[in-house]
Amino acid sequence: MTTATTATAVGEALRLPANAGSDLVVLDRVSIEFPRSRGSGHVVAVSDVSVSIRRGEKFVILGPSGCGKSTLLTALGGFIPVSSGAILVDGKAVSAPSMNRVLVFQDFGQLLPWRTVSGNVEWAVGKRWPSMKPRERKARAAHYIDIVGLGAQAGQYPNTLSGGQKQRCAIARAFAVQPAMLLMDEPFGALDAINRERMQYELNKVWASESEPVTIAFVTHDVNEAVHLGHRVMVMSRGPGRLRALIDNPCVGSPPHDEAALALVQELRDLLKDEP
């Protein structure tokens, strides 16, 4: 776990692990269609996307709203079926939701309101490892709650937390079950700018603190967020959602005013702007 305070040192720790590189997820010509709610025909949300996500990387899916990026993530989670193509995780086709791929939502209401912060995390840990001893479960939950800085709020109910604290708790819960993959659907989208930047920084920190970094697919429409978080950034275009560009990001974890990062931010912004 990194204790470094300077941004460059954090950047060091954010390098991909040596064993990274093998593909964890393969999206093979994935299309997702919905039946129109009125009338006949289909709405194409995602069209012919092929890409792979490497083990241990933070993979950002960036696109304007309505480009099907959340739909793609939801399909990756197994919550909705693909219309054609295939999503393979570890070589196996995704068919149903699994604790091995945990979703973190934008919605603050993703915590169980009737459980405390530690109750929420312990609940998830208990689902993941039903035979785990209560003491071990509590210790595991407490560890992750401390990592996200909610130690003082562990006994509080979600309705007494701020939006940022709720998302921290959701992140602690997701990391605590040690999934092969975290699917994050704009988790910081409803936070104010300052809090959002802080959470991005801390997400990088939590990710780096794991001995075997978890693979993260992170959906956002925020270009700065994409550059701060993603080892690679996949840019999608709207109507129907297509893969527009796939960009390696050497500036992951860099401070907000780093020149290279700013250049990349500009490049991504242009990509989003001049849609065909």
């Binding site: 919550f79 169980l112 009737w114 609940w123 689902k127 709020q153 007494t160 701020s162």
Partner: protein
């Protein structure tokens, strides 16, 4: 609101203040005292026949004696009557709640069950279930079962219809969370659906209890005693037969008091659940 200092929010452990600590209570007490005075004084000043409408003080004495305070011939008998009634309604309450959960649970996953439930709720909710008492007597005889049947028919529909609304309004995010953690049907019900629907559930239980309580007292008035003893409704009716109007009023007061006590029990339940969790504001 400061978002930088996230620790600034106070720990909010106790939930909403307990009902009863607010200043509204004082006003309520004043109103009740005034009503009691009005009763007492009207009867005394207008010199109403005590046999037809006794003053509050007489009724209070009867109630006290009935509950076993201060001696008297009828010492403690009210407890037996009220317990008889309460045991019927508690049994019916448990049956109704279980039935409602079962039926609405099935209705979630099956469109035919859903329609069936919706049609049956529509049919039976407006029906005063006391109208079923004559049939119930035919089927079950002059037994406790008849009472329970009628009371269940009064309770189960409002509980089921509130639960249906409760389930229908659960946030999709929580349902997804449940699917994400691979909950089976039973676990989904126990760990997500029921707690999330608890605000609606409590309001349904409350309405159901109210319906049931009215029905059981009414049924006893018509029905008389079952097997080993009558309930409070029977007691009230008997008091009329023997012109013990004071006792009759004491019985009625007791019915009201039990209603108030249950209402506060429901408030207490809310205080320790939905109010504490913030899923219901008051």
């Amino acid at each position: 609101m400061s978002t930088i200092n996230e620790n600034a929010r106070p720990a909010h452990k106790g939930g909403a203040p307990l009902p009863g600590t607010s200043s509204g209570v004082l006003k309520k007490v004043v109103v009740i005292v005034l009503l009691c005075l009005a009763w007492e004084l009207t009867v005394r000043i207008l010199k109403v026949n005590k046999l037809l409408f006794p003053p509050l003080s007489d009724v209070a004495v009867r109630l006290m004696h009935g509950l076993g305070f201060g001696g008297g011939s009828a010492s403690g008998e009210l407890w037996a009557y009220i317990w008889e009634t309460l045991s019927v309604i508690l049994q019916s309450f448990a049956i109704s709640t279980a039935l409602a959960i079962l039926v609405t649970g099935l209705a979630i996953s099956n469109i035919w069950m859903r329609e069936t439930l919706s049609v049956m709720t529509g049919m039976f909710q407006p029906l005063p279930s006391i109208a079923l008492l004559p049939m119930a007597i035919l089927w079950f005889g002059f037994s406790r079962d008849s009472l329970v049947f009628v009371v269940v028919m009064a309770m189960v529909w409002p509980i089921a219809s509130s639960l249906t609304v409760g389930f229908a309004t659960i946030s999709p995010t929580l349902l997804r969370l449940g699917r994400n953690y691979e909950l089976g049907r039973f676990a989904m019900m126990k760990e997500i659906l029921l707690p999330a629907a608890l605000p609606m559930m409590i309001s349904g239980l409350r309405v159901g209890w109210g319906f049931g309580w009215r029905t059981v007292v009414a049924a006893e008035l018509v029905f008389g005693a079952t097997g080993n003893g009558g309930g409070i409704g029977w007691f009230i009716n008997n008091s009329r037969l023997f012109m013990n109007i004071g006792d009759g009023f004491a019985g009625i007061l007791l019915v009201i008091i039990v209603g108030l006590v249950t209402e506060s029990l429901f408030r207490l339940l809310q205080h320790f659940t939905t109010h504490k969790w913030g899923t219901e504001s008051y």
